[in-house]
């Protein structure tokens, strides 16, 4: 049995310790917001936070996440109101939407570490996340907007 804390809820799972966290989250725990895109850490659709760091859950063995704090897209905010989620809606970022969980989870770590990122910082932090629909111009714009929203709210960075 492996003990996982996902979005502040504890789960005990009986799985192969080598199983990637992605499949445990999706198939065993049943949270499907985290996506499979490539399985080899190339597309970023599976990004989750492990102790506050962005990790590719498709290449993270579940054993590495045991007893650690995991946050998935479902846990990014309680009411879909993280500054990034607000900015994503305001700027109408998604098209098909499949990659956006990973985009948001990567962007959340960027904003936490760099509350006012410029385009170069956004490009550097977000280059690991593919979007086949090509929403990149809007992702850039929305991260800038989220930085503003975060500042306006006077909140501590997420």
């Amino acid at each position: 049995m492996i003990r996982l804390t996902v979005n502040q809820k504890t789960h005990k799972v009986d799985v192969d310790p080598d199983m990637p966290l992605l499949w445990v989250i999706r198939d065993i725990i049943g949270l499907t917001g985290t996506k499979y895109g490539c399985g080899v850490a190339q597309c970023g659709a599976c990004v989750v936070h492990l102790n506050g760091e962005a990790v590719r859950s498709c290449v993270t063995k579940v054993s590495r996440a045991a007893n650690q704090k995991i946050v998935t897209i479902e846990g990014l905010s309680l009411h879909n109101d993280h500054p990034l989620q607000q900015a994503w809606a305001e700027i109408d970022v998604p098209q098909c939407g499949y990659c956006q969980s990973g985009q948001l989870m990567s962007a959340a770590v960027l904003l936490k570490e760099n509350p006012q990122p410029d385009d170069a910082a956004i490009d550097a932090a977000m280059s690991g996340n593919l979007c086949r629909c090509g929403t990149y111009p809007r992702i850039r714009k929305a991260i800038h907007r989220a930085a503003e929203l975060q500042q306006e709210a006077g909140k501590k960075p997420f």
Partner: protein, 716 residues
């Protein structure tokens, strides 16, 4: 779920209370139906319940193109309800909903713009009549707004929900009056899409996310040599993996291509993948293991000497003698590429006796449940009425999900077991198996008169045949219209044009890829037009406009583009500007690209300006989003490695070698929309074809280097 009779107008007294079905072809989670009355001929529909709840069905799968907002918007506009007041449901290929439940050809809005508004307008007229008869006043003295009917003089009002019972007895008008465009409250306004919040918190459900009771997971080993078939397999090691339940042979049909493989079924997907690695499979590669893309392409180059089948013949091109110094000739080559929707192909299939139930992301619900000759029932040997589909949000299509092969494969597996199976393709599977966008090679020739006027134009396309591969309407003695798409239909006034097609046999499955063959032939033709402009000693924009004396949509696009791109503004040395435009079945877009040749040899894309001509626009901001995305997809196909085969196998496997554009490569994109009435054109695809030629033309302007082959280097 209850399916309600077509052409009916129904009252429902089930759990949802009294409900009013408007339009035709309705379905929903409601009780039994009563009181059918004749209705006018519409296709989509509306459900209004006595409690006031209003549901509108979206019959065009949401694949990222925005139909989840744009399709209901057309109905809501005329019904006089806001989208905030409406529940939107995606349709599931219900037979009562007709055969147009498809997302393809940028057709969703352009083919429904009037019809769906009529659905909304008819419903509104009936509701107004119901209110008028309740009050005993003339319907002309009433109006509808905000899901309520008002009596103008008295100010009395009744909400739609309270009119349901009365309205159910009134026949729908056949020729409802549509609103004047200037009164639109939704159409033409940039509005947030209702699916966006679902796509920011993980709650949007895609096919890959569905879980069905008792479901198991499958991964399929397919022959790495395209065209090879299964000889035999040994699953003993695979069956020892914890969680693996069984291993079965499987068949997948794509057009004329019958593929075989081995499916590993397990309690979870990870176990299925582990089991798959342990399979020992023997394939019959049938000589396809000797196939080399390089050799095949060399063959295509030789085929240029064949006359081919004439596509279009305008004027009398053979009667003209062009002086050799006035002839320009060029040969262009484009590659195969993969679709790569971010959501890998997947399908859950359950087969119980003669009933098939499916949960999947598809662009074509109508073809999954339909009874047409190319529909799923023919491929799986199940009566269409026994096929039930649960359609979901679609994590990208780009043409790949127009096809049923991955559904056929899932059904084939499910037939062999007694539980539902979810088949998921790995990224490697989608990269290595195809189908792919076919390559097109183009021979072009232009001839100038002694006075310097372009008087002859020839374009011969040499390529595999799409129709042959997908096994639809193929006749080797006729031109495959898909492969010469748009090449004779540009607005340029050239008196003598001949277009032709040379078909090359091919065993690799090919498919429509976003903007279909326009994504390749436009590169050849619009770059060649640039060559002709330089030959004529003219600026490429002026040259194009000189071929457009009569008013046309293309002329309008180019004139707008010239202005908004600042075409006449000089650029610094080392920078260049290119232009291209393309009109085809899906629509019309023109683009300029500005590039700078950096001192280290790299080409930097500074700016892309697009003008898309729509006739009518529903959601301008969504159109901009689509056009930006089309340009970025076109960038990938223009400069990223293509799909090639060596020894019969695709040489690329995943995103580490089959590269897609990333955010850091994204240029500044500025999209302008023309919506000046006339023919309603599509949105999803037209932004794609002009980009690669405009980029190549800009590189020529900046560096003097002419790229006649895609993909090309952003390094000169």
């Amino acid at each position: 779920m209850t399916t309600i009779t077509r052409r009916s107008f129904l009252k429902n007294a089930g759990g949802a209370g009294v409900a009013l079905w408007l339009g035709l072809y309705v379905h929903g989670e409601v009780g039994k139906t009563t009181s059918p009355v004749t209705a006018a001929h519409f296709t989509p529909w509306i459900l209004i319940e006595s409690g006031g709840k209003i549901t509108i069905y979206n019959t065009k799968p949401e694949i990222g193109q925005g139909t989840f907002q744009a399709i209901p918007a057309l109905i809501a506009e005329e019904l006089e309800v806001s989208l905030d007041q409406v529940t939107i449901l995606n349709s599931n290929g219900e037979k009562e909903l007709g055969t147009a439940q498809r997302a393809g050809g940028s057709a969703s809005v352009r083919t429904s713009f009037s019809d769906l508004r009529k659905v909304g307008a008819s419903a509104k007229e009936v509701l107004i009549q119901a209110a008028a008869s309740t009050w005993g006043v003339d319907a002309a003295t009433c109006y509808a707004e905000n899901a309520t009917v008002y009596h103008r003089a008295s100010g009395k009002s009744i909400a739609y929900g309270d009119l349901v019972e009365t309205a159910a007895k009134i026949e729908l008008p056949k020729t409802p009056v549509l609103k004047d465009g200037k009164d639109f409250k939704i159409i033409g306004k940039s509005m947030r899409r209702p699916d966006v919040p679902l796509k920011t918190n993980g709650s949007a459900v895609f096919g890959i996310d569905v879980k069905v009771d008792g479901m198991r997971y499958a991964s399929v080993e397919r022959c790495p040599v395209i065209g090879g078939t299964l000889k035999q397999f040994d699953a003993s090691a695979a069956l020892k993996i914890k969680g693996v339940v069984t291993v079965v042979p499987v068949e997948r049909v794509y057009g004329i291509h019958r593929n075989t493989g081995v499916a590993v079924i397990a309690d979870n997907y990870w176990a299925a993948l582990q089991g798959r690695k342990k399979l020992r499979v023997e394939w019959d590669t049938k000589g396809f293991e000797h196939f080399q893309s390089d050799e095949y392409e060399a063959g295509l180059r030789l085929m240029v000497s064949q006359e081919g089948l004439t596509d279009k013949n305008k004027g009398d091109i053979d009667a003209l003698t062009i002086a050799p110094e006035n002839l320009v000739e060029a040969f262009y080559e484009t590659p195969m590429v993969a679709h790569h929707p971010m959501e890998p192909l997947n399908c859950i299939a359950q087969v119980k006796d003669d009933q098939v139930e499916l949960w999947t992301s598809t662009q074509v619900p109508s073809n999954v449940t339909g009874s047409g000759p190319n529909d799923l029932h023919k491929l799986i040997g199940v009566a269409p009425e026994n096929i039930k589909l649960h359609a979901t949000f679609v994590g990208g299509g780009f043409g790949r999900r127009l096809y049923l092969d991955f559904i056929v494969e899932a059904v084939n597996i499910a037939k062999q077991v007694n539980y539902p199976v979810k088949v998921i393709w790995t990224r490697e599977d989608t990269t290595e198996q195809g189908p792919f966008r076919p390559m097109t090679f183009s021979q072009l020739q232009g001839g100038f008169s002694a006075e310097g006027k372009l008087v002859t134009f020839r374009h011969k396309v040499i390529s595999p045949s799409y129709a042959e591969s997908v096994g639809r309407n193929f006749d080797p003695n006729k031109v495959d219209g898909t492969m010469v798409e748009g090449i004779a239909e540009q607005a340029y006034e050239i008196p003598n044009i001949r277009t032709a097609y040379v078909r090359a046999g091919y065993h690799v499955p090919v498919a429509a890829w976003r903007s279909v063959t326009s994504s390749t032939v436009a590169f050849a033709q619009e770059c060649f037009l640039d060559e002709l402009a330089w030959k004529a000693g003219m600026d490429p924009m002026s040259f194009r406009l000189s071929l457009l004396s009569a008013p046309s949509d293309t002329k309008r696009v180019l004139l707008t583009l010239k202005e908004v791109s600042g075409w006449d503004r000089p650029l610094p040395k080392g920078s260049g500007r290119g232009v291209a435009t393309w009109e085809f079945f899906a629509g019309l877009c023109g683009q300029t690209v500005e590039v700078t040749h950096l001192s280290d040899g790299r080409i930097r894309i500074d700016k892309v300006v697009a003008v898309i001509d729509l006739g009518e626009v529903v959601n301008p901001d969504n159109v901009r989003n689509q056009t930006e995305g089309a340009i970025i997809m076109a960038l990938g196909a223009a400069v990223k490695p293509d799909i090639r085969l060596k020894h019969g196998k695709v040489t690329h496997h995943n995103f580490y070698d089959n590269l897609l554009p990333r955010i850091s490569e994204t240029p500044l994109i500025d999209v302008h929309i023309l919506a000046e009435g006339g023919k309603v054109k599509g949105v999803g695809e037209p932004g794609l074809p002009p980009f690669a030629p405009a980029l190549a033309n800009a590189i020529f302007a900046a560096t003097g280097k002419r790229n006649r082959k895609m993909p090309f280097d952003l390094h000169v």
